[in-house]
C-alpha cells in the first residue's frame, strides 16, 4: 500500500512538474544564445548538440548545398525574426517525417522532401517544426521525461535514424512527437507563420491528407510522425477551417525551384526505400493518380520492386507490367532490364530472359549485378 501511494505521489509530482514547466515557459521572441538560458535548459540544448553531432557522424545526413540553401530561404520567410537560429538538415531516411530538437535543429527526412507536391506543403511542415523550437516544446517535453523505454517501443526496425539515436532522450523524444497540446499549438502558430510568409494555406490541408492516406494505406496506428499528435482527421478539419478564412496567396507560390531538384531526391528516396527491403510504401506512393507525372521516368521500376518486395504472388503480373513500363519510359535505365531478365530467368524462360540480361550488361558493364547476370547467362547457354 505504501509503495502504491509513493508511486501515485511520484506520478502526480511529475504531472505537476510537466504542467508547471509548460506554464512557466514563454515562447522565444528572438534568437537566443545558450548562455542566456537557465541552467536546466542549457543542459537540454547541450544534449541536443550531442544529437546533432551523433547524426552528423552517422552517415545518415544528405549533403546537398542547393537544397539546403533553398530550404534556408524558406525558413527565413517563415521565421524572419529568428534569422539563422533554425537550421534544417536532410536525413537519408525514407519515412515521411521531420522533427525539431530543442536547440532549433530541424531534421527533414528525404522521404518527406521527395513526396511533398509543392513548396507550400513543405512550408507547412517547416512552420510546424519551427514552432516547436520557438515555443520551447522540446525543453518542456525533455523536462518531463524519465526513460527512453517508451520511445524505443514500436520503433520496429531499429536501424537508420532511430538506431542512431537510441539512447538519446532528446533525440528520441523529438522524433516521436510532442504532446497533443504542443502539436495543436505548433499547428495553429505554424499556420500563422505560413500565411505571413506568403505561402498557400490550402496546401496545409493537402499535405495532411496525403500523410493520412499513407498512414491508412500502410495500416499504421502509431507512425513516428503522428505519435501523440492530435487525431489526423481533427487536424485536417482545423486546417480546412483556417485556410477557408485565409484564402489563397497573391501572387501564387512558384514551385520551379522545388521541381528542379526534386527528381534527384525522388530517385534517392526510391532507391533507399527498395534497399531496405520494404515494398508497401513504394506501391502506395507510385500508384497514386498523379505518380506518372510527379516521379521520374524510372519510377515504374521501383513500383515493380515494391510489388516484388511486398512478396505477394498475386502482384506478379503488376510487377512485370511495371518493369516493362520502366523499360519503355526509361530505356537506358539498366536495373529495369536486369529485373525483367531475372523474372524470366526464375520462370525458366531463357528465351525471354537472355535479351534483357544482355541489355543490362550492355547498359551497365560495371553494374552491381554484373556477376549475377553473367552467371544467369551462363546457365541459359
Amino acid at each position: 500500500m505504501r509503495l502504491r501511494r509513493a508511486i501515485r505521489a511520484a506520478g502526480i509530482a511529475c504531472l505537476v512538474a510537466a504542467v508547471g514547466a509548460q506554464a512557466a515557459t514563454p515562447p522565444f521572441e528572438r534568437p537566443v544564445r545558450p548562455v542566456e538560458l537557465e541552467e536546466p535548459e542549457q543542459r537540454v540544448w547541450s544534449e541536443a548538440e550531442d544529437v546533432d553531432l551523433t547524426l552528423s557522424r552517422s552517415g545518415q545526413l544528405l549533403r546537398d548545398e542547393e537544397v539546403e540553401a533553398w530550404i534556408a530561404g524558406l525558413m527565413l520567410r517563415l521565421f524572419p525574426d529568428f534569422g539563422a537560429a533554425l537550421r534544417v538538415r536532410i536525413v537519408r531516411d525514407p519515412e515521411m517525417n521531420a522533427f525539431c530538437l530543442p536547440n532549433g535543429s530541424i531534421y527533414m527526412n528525404l522521404g518527406m522532401l521527395a513526396r511533398v507536391r509543392n513548396t507550400s506543403q513543405l512550408a507547412t511542415i517547416l512552420a510546424h517544426e519551427g514552432v516547436h523550437f520557438t515555443h520551447r516544446h522540446g525543453f518542456q517535453q525533455r523536462s518531463s521525461l524519465v526513460t527512453t523505454a517508451g520511445f524505443t517501443q514500436g520503433a520496429g526496425i531499429a536501424g537508420g535514424l532511430v538506431g542512431a539515436l537510441l539512447g538519446s532522450l532528446v533525440g528520441m523524444s523529438s522524433i516521436r512527437g510532442f504532446s497533443r497540446t504542443h502539436e495543436r499549438e505548433a499547428d495553429r502558430v505554424g499556420f500563422g507563420r505560413l500565411l505571413a510568409g506568403g505561402f498557400d494555406p490550402r496546401e496545409s490541408v493537402a499535405v495532411f491528407q496525403m500523410l493520412t492516406a499513407e498512414s491508412k494505406a500502410m495500416g499504421l496506428t502509431d507512425t513516428v510522425f503522428f505519435a501523440s499528435h492530435p487525431q489526423l482527421d481533427e487536424r485536417i478539419k482545423t486546417f480546412r477551417e483556417l485556410s477557408a478564412v485565409a484564402g489563397p496567396p497573391t501572387p501564387p507560390e512558384s514551385d520551379a525551384a522545388l521541381r528542379a531538384f526534386q527528381p534527384r531526391l525522388q530517385r534517392e528516396w526510391m532507391a533507399l526505400e527498395a534497399s531496405m527491403g520494404q515494398g508497401g510504401r513504394l506501391v502506395h506512393q507510385l500508384t497514386r493518380p498523379d505518380a506518372v507525372d510527379f516521379y521520374p521516368p524510372e519510377a515504374p521500376y521501383y513500383l515493380g520492386e515494391g510489388y516484388r518486395l511486398r512478396g505477394d504472388a498475386a502482384d506478379r503480373n503488376a510487377m512485370i507490367a511495371a518493369y516493362e513500363s520502366a523499360v519503355q519510359r526509361a530505356p537506358t535505365f539498366a536495373p529495369a532490364h536486369a529485373a525483367l531478365g531475372v523474372v524470366h530467368f526464375k520462370a525458366k524462360d531463357c528465351a525471354r530472359a537472355v535479351p534483357y540480361l544482355r541489355s543490362y550488361l550492355d547498359l551497365a558493364p560495371d553494374g552491381s549485378l554484373r556477376s549475377h547476370v553473367g552467371r544467369m547467362l551462363e546457365k541459359c547457354r
Binding site: 536501424g159 534497399s275 527491403g277 520494404q278
Partner: protein, 197 residues
C-alpha cells in the same frame, strides 16, 4: 505477504547464477589445438577452424571462432530456418532465392542493424562453396564509435534454411591479415546433404 519467501527465491537464483558462472568460466572459450572439422549446430555441415584460434562455446547461435577477441575479428558459421533468418526485417527467405536475391536480403538486414553507418557493398557475386550455390557478399561499415569494419559473407539458401559462413574484422590491419585464413575455412566447408539443384 511475508518477505521471507521472496528473499529465499532471490538467494536461490543467486546461488544458481554463481554456480553457472563458475562452470562457464572454464568452458566459455576453447583453443582450437588441432584443426578438426566442427559441425555447425546440429546440421551435417562442417568446417575446419584455423588452428590456434579460440572457439566461443557460449555463442548465441552457430559456431564462432576468433583469434584476438570478437570485438576485433571473428568467423561465424550458422544455419537459420527460413522463418528466422531475416526476422529482423520482417522477411522470410526460401530455397528458390537466387544468389542476388539472397544478397539483397543480407544487405537489408545489415542496414536495419542499430548503431551502424556508412554501409557500402564492396563485392557481390555468385559463389559455390561446400557444394552449395550461393553468394559472396562483402560489406564495409562504421560502428557507433566510428571504427571501420569489413564483413565478408558466404551464404546459400537451401531447402531447410539459410547457411552462412562469415568473417567480420576491423578494417585496419586485421581484416586483410586474417582474410587468407577465412578463405581456407570457406574451402573446408563440407555438406553431407544433397545440394540444391
Amino acid at each position: 505477504m511475508s518477505l521471507e519467501r521472496p528473499l529465499c527465491a532471490v538467494r536461490a537464483v543467486l546461488v544458481i547464477a554463481t554456480l553457472a558462472l563458475a562452470g562457464c568460466q572454464t568452458a566459455a572459450w576453447t583453443r582450437v589445438e588441432t584443426p578438426d572439422a566442427i559441425a555447425v549446430n546440429k546440421s551435417k555441415r562442417t568446417f575446419v577452424p584455423p588452428a590456434g584460434w579460440i572457439r566461443w562455446n557460449g555463442a548465441p547461435s552457430g559456431v564462432i571462432v576468433t583469434r584476438d577477441g570478437t570485438p576485433i575479428q571473428f568467423i561465424r558459421a550458422a544455419e537459420m530456418t527460413h522463418d528466422q533468418a531475416f526476422r529482423a526485417i520482417r522477411k522470410t527467405s526460401n530455397a528458390d532465392l537466387l544468389p542476388n536475391e539472397l544478397a539483397e536480403l543480407l544487405i537489408a538486414a545489415r542496414k536495419a542493424m542499430p548503431g551502424m553507418s556508412g554501409l557500402a557493398v564492396t563485392s557481390n557475386e555468385p559463389a559455390t562453396f561446400g557444394g552449395l550455390d550461393g553468394v559472396r557478399l562483402g560489406l564495409t561499415y562504421r560502428d557507433e564509435r566510428g571504427a571501420s569494419f569489413d564483413h565478408l559473407m558466404y551464404a546459400a539458401a537451401e531447402t531447410d534454411g539459410v547457411f552462412m559462413i562469415e568473417y567480420h574484422a576491423l578494417s585496419k590491419h586485421y581484416f586483410a591479415r586474417d582474410l587468407p585464413e577465412f578463405e581456407k575455412v570457406v574451402a573446408s566447408v563440407r555438406s553431407e546433404r544433397k545440394a540444391k539443384k
